[in-house]
């Protein structure tokens, strides 16, 4: 015998009680674990995705939407901006780097991003196979995109117009996979990258009719005697007034940019600037409310389980007062009894929280395996945080607290009176 084996036998003698208490607590702990894993990883991802981008310039609309669409690639574009207007912003001396983005097409729900190689450099992405694009309609795919869609080098695919599978296909134009990126654990993993020109090329036939109207303008561009390449899309002449992009990601040269640039951009009639830092902070505040409600629910569950453990221990003392007294006759001290009861409560909460942690991680593993979006968000069940030790420690404390009163009662058992009762 040992104290632990005694405690375990007591718990085992009431399996339903034990199951109820452990289940209640583990549900609460599981909810907390899921929230912890989800929000920590999401926050980490969001910060990772937004970290090297100081400003996003795009069409007017919701600034949050602009960020969600152009940095995290989850929302829809706010509209297009003129390439020449974007260029003017890019030429500002406060801008260190400006990267154009052309969005709007997808393949099997994976977004196609027309951009430059600078965009990949932003996330320190490297190729695991193949090469970067250097012609129109050549693409480099993210690691997750490649594995989920089973894309290999030299595979070809037809893009969809729009960001869902429902959009019409651009059947005339076939993209060819030229390279596959190494995993970066950023949004790049779930994208298909190509040049801005490829996106224009795919849409050419759609816009042909419109182009005819504008033809006089584009002709005037072609007649420029001195060809100065656009700083954003070098194959196009600078100042081209027909081409459009979705947005532009900007890095500042100096902190002064943060003061000047947003105002400068917003003063232009059809463009707006959104700061990822500011908008993600706003996003966290919005998400925070939901998180707190669920967290509150988890705490209620934990409180109920603590109450249930307390009541179970308290009631069992009535049945066990002879056991306690007889233990004293065999040489157990008051503190031995105290420790036994506290250990019983703490064992329950420890088991409950371990079960809860397993359930939490398990649920996320399951979610990541079953739901693509969870995996796309980069949320993984196999990540562990130091906070989880706090959960374990906290639940041991909880066990101590709810077994304290019964344990004090056990400590105070009047052996002689209990044994003389019959």
């Amino acid at each position: 015998m040992s104290t632990f084996s005694l405690v375990w036998n007591y718990l085992k003698s009431k399996p339903l009680n034990m199951a109820l208490n452990i289940t209640l607590l583990s549900l609460g702990i599981a909810v907390i674990t899921i929230l912890l894993l989800f929000s920590s990883q999401l926050e980490q991802k969001i910060n990772q995705n937004a970290k090297s981008i100081d400003l996003v310039v795009g069409a007017k609309g919701s600034p949050l939407q602009l960020i969600l669409c152009n940095i995290f690639h989850i929302d829809f574009p706010t509209g297009n901006i003129k390439l020449n207007e974007a260029e003017r912003i890019a030429h500002n001396r406060l801008v260190k780097k400006a990267i154009p983005l052309a969005l709007g097409d997808s393949y099997q729900d994976y977004r196609i991003v027309g951009t430059t190689q600078d965009y990949a450099t932003l996330y320190e992405a490297q190729l695991s196979q193949g090469a970067w694009w250097n012609k129109e309609l050549e693409a480099v795919v993210g690691s997750n995109t490649a594995s989920m869609l089973n894309l290999k080098i030299d595979d070809s695919f037809v893009s969809n117009h729009g960001l869902t599978k429902e959009g019409g296909q651009h059947e005339e134009q076939h993209f060819i996979v030229k390279g596959i990126l190494k995993p970066t654990s950023t949004v790049l993993d779930n994208l298909i990258l190509t040049s801005v020109e490829s996106i224009w090329k795919v849409h050419e036939h759609v816009e042909n009719t419109i182009d005819e109207v504008r033809s006089d303008k584009s002709e005037s561009n072609q007649h420029d005697s001195t060809f100065t390449a656009s700083s954003l899309v070098p194959s196009i002449a600078g100042g081209d007034s027909t081409k459009e992009i979705t947005s532009m990601l900007i890095q500042y040269r100096s902190p002064m940019g943060a003061v000047m640039m947003p105002r400068l951009v917003n003063s232009q009639s059809n463009m707006q600037a959104a700061s990822p830092a500011f908008e993600t902070a706003r996003l966290f505040t919005i998400l925070g409310v939901g998180v707190e409600i669920v967290l509150g629910f988890a705490y209620v569950l934990i409180f109920i389980s603590a109450l249930s453990i307390f009541i179970a221990l308290y009631n069992s003392l009535k049945e066990r007062k002879y056991d306690l007294a007889i233990m004293r006759t065999m040489g157990a001290s008051r503190s031995n009894l105290f420790v036994t009861i506290v250990l019983e409560g703490s064992t329950l909460t420890l088991l409950g929280s371990i079960a809860g942690l397993f359930m939490g991680h398990g649920t996320l593993l399951l979610l990541a395996a079953l739901i693509d979006d969870v995996q796309k968000a980069g949320v993984n069940g196999f990540v562990f945080y130091i906070t989880e030790w706090w959960i374990l420690g906290g639940s041991l404390t909880l066990g101590f607290i709810c077994s304290l009163l019964p344990a004090i009662q056990a400590y105070r058992t009047d052996i002689s009176r209990v044994l003389a009762e019959n």
Binding site: Y322, G331, S333
Partner: protein, 213 residues
Amino acid sequence: MIEVQNLTYSYTGSTKIVFPDFSVKRGETCLLLGESGSGKTTLLHLLGGLLTSQQGNIHINGTDITALSEQALDNFRGEHAGFIFQKNHLIRALTVKKNLMMAPFLANKKQDDKRADEVLTLLGLIDKKNSRIQELSQGQAQRVAIARAIINKPHIIFADEPTSALDDANCNRVIKLLMEAASQNQSTLLIATHDQRLKSHITMNVQLSNSQH
């Protein structure tokens, strides 16, 4: 071995029990007789250190246990005493064997499987070793309680009405086993009882009067 001198005990209120002086030697068996209310259980609890705040002296093995602290009394019980009650007070969450092992565990003594088997064999319970307490008959349960009381080879066995709830056959069996176990270990056996059947087995007794002041 046991010497009681000028022992009185006051309950809350004004009832006071005066116990006669007596002494019991090592290995002897002695009945504490008296009607209910005469203080048999109180005396047994005082002798076993379960109850304190008495007046007078109780010497056991030369130690005045009335002078011991509560912690020292816990150790004293673990070291020297075994208890048997009218109800078996076995721990129902544990098997027969584990109930037995509680005694050496709580007394900080070696938990010896061979000793447990020996005691269970003596009491005819070896085939019930891994049974649950609920599966035992009343007589069997009382024998497990005896096994638990003697497994540590205590110097003194305190028994409070050990046979009162048993029928004649079981009563005879239990008292014989109890005396046999006590004599094997040279244990002193003190039995508080009003069960007249025991008088035919044990001659030495201390009669408690019902006179309360």
